[in-house]
């Protein structure tokens, strides 16, 4: 596997700067009375996260030969959507998690009501990011919005959240776990790649587009499997959230279904599948290749 020369920490710094810039514009408040709401939203968004989804969007755009600025709206949208999902996931009504990314969860820092509303506002802002004027044509942006809406809704992220809750305390089958993970984590990761590819000029259902979607499916599954592994073997400080949280709540994970070694093997298979999907691409997809490794090998 060749590593393209634009892949690396300098490239990631440039992309994170683009992302931060876009997010700060979207999170600029218009009324002093709303300052605290924007503070809460900003607290939930600007934290040292992996920025996996925005990096996927930029890298998929690049793989299709597009410029980064075409993917700015997508990168912000997927990070905002991800932030909202974590905030609501951490609420007392769901995971009741006290720590997120190494600091108090939003509902702990700002109160439950503010966290609920900040999450709601961030979801809307994610759609606003896609609807804003950009170099991408109206027709393509509308298709992206449809992709984002499906990925966030009952047949996507929200549906996965619901299944995760519904499966807690049961002994789920591997199929049930797979469906839950596909919706809860996979849908947004897949949408990040798909929308990034569209921003880069990909035409839906062409060979390259289908290949990128296949890549996205594989790493989406790999991401959740790795999460499940880290929940069992992870270092709580590095992870920045309570290790064993899912285990304690008797939730459905790949580890509880396959065992630790089985889950590790499964993650490696998924990585191989993701890399194979990119076979038709040259060095323009090296960033995507590296991200696939990051997903499977990360420690937090």
């Amino acid at each position: 596997m060749r590593i393209h020369k634009t892949v690396g920490s300098e490239r990631n710094l440039i992309l994170r700067a683009r992302l931060d810039n876009g997010l700060r514009k979207l999170l600029t408040h218009s009324s002093p009375s709303l300052e605290k709401l924007y503070d809460a939203m900003t607290y939930g968004v600007f934290e040292p996260g992996k920025c996996l989804r925005p990096l996927l969007a930029y890298s998929a755009c690049e793989a299709m030969g597009g410029q980064f600025d075409a993917a700015d709206g997508v990168a912000c949208a997927v990070e905002l959507m991800h932030a909202y999902s974590l905030i609501h996931d951490d609420l007392p009504a769901l995971d009741d998690a006290l720590v997120r990314r190494g600091k108090p969860a939003l509902h702990v820092a700002y109160g439950e009501s503010a966290a609920l509303i900040a999450g709601d506002a961030l979801q809307a802002l994610a759609f606003e990011s896609l609807a804003q004027p950009s170099a991408v044509s109206a027709g393509i942006r509308l298709q992206m919005l449809a992709v984002m809406a499906r990925a966030a809704g009952p047949a996507g992220l929200a549906g996965g959240q619901f299944l995760d809750m519904a499966l807690a305390g049961t002994r789920p089958t591997l199929e049930q776990v797979a469906e839950m993970q596909r919706l809860k984590t996979g849908a947004l990761i897949e949408a990040s790649v798909v929308m990034g590819a569209m921003a880069g000029g990909a035409t839906v259902e062409t060979n390259r587009f289908v290949a990128l979607r296949k890549y996205a499916e594989q790493i989406g599954r790999a991401f959740q499997v790795r999460d499940d592994i880290l929940d069992v073997v992870g270092d709580r400080v590095a992870l920045g959230k309570a290790v064993h949280a899912d285990q304690h709540a008797d939730k459905s994970t790949a580890v509880s279904s396959l065992g630790l070694e089985g889950a590790r093997h499964y993650a490696r298979q998924l990585l191989l599948g993701a890399l194979t999907a990119l076979d038709a691409f040259g060095p323009e997809a090296d960033a995507l290749r590296q991200l696939a490794h990051v997903v499977v090998e990360r420690d937090l």
Copy 2:
């Protein structure tokens, strides 16, 4: 004031049937495991509400000379967004309301976690409704999506929700109440009219478009003022929710700022302003005129 012959209960029945049909399509689940989530969403959407926002969307489309089918996506979107906002508003973290539209609130019927997620899913579905293929051009639908995103986000509905919470227990000024109401209730009502007008062919910033937005601002404020009045004098059974709920929670209302008679006078002024804004329209805006009366004179 002339009442156009298409205004009336038969017309409303036709429009409600269009709306129901569109909503049922959007609320059709794809996986048996998600049935309960869709049940919860459907419970929160299909209740004998006023359907004010969809009727405003259809009527604004009609006022601009458009056909009803152009506004179907907008009508569904605003009803879904409204339903989500009520569901989250009723959660224990916010109003902790037990009754909504005459029956147990969603969190009472399905549990708090399911209500939280169902609300999240409905917001996403509202955007999906606008992004779906329709007779309206991609450029216009993209503009609608931007309007919807702003109306739902931190400078709209979510912001109003936040201010409502922040002002509780204070003695707010009239300006503070007005800002809260403009965001919490006005933004979505205004968006319903604006998006309906766009679906009907209105060009942004033309005289007719500006007139419709002015109309929408007035009835948006009138709606909340009437709500505040009904919270003090309303019949609990007719209203289908706990009367005096806002009063008990010491929340900011037009009545607490202006007194009961002052609030009534204010509502009449707003009605007059809404009707005046429609002066340049003929009978094609009679449905909007009637809806303005409904808003100010309703008992529930």
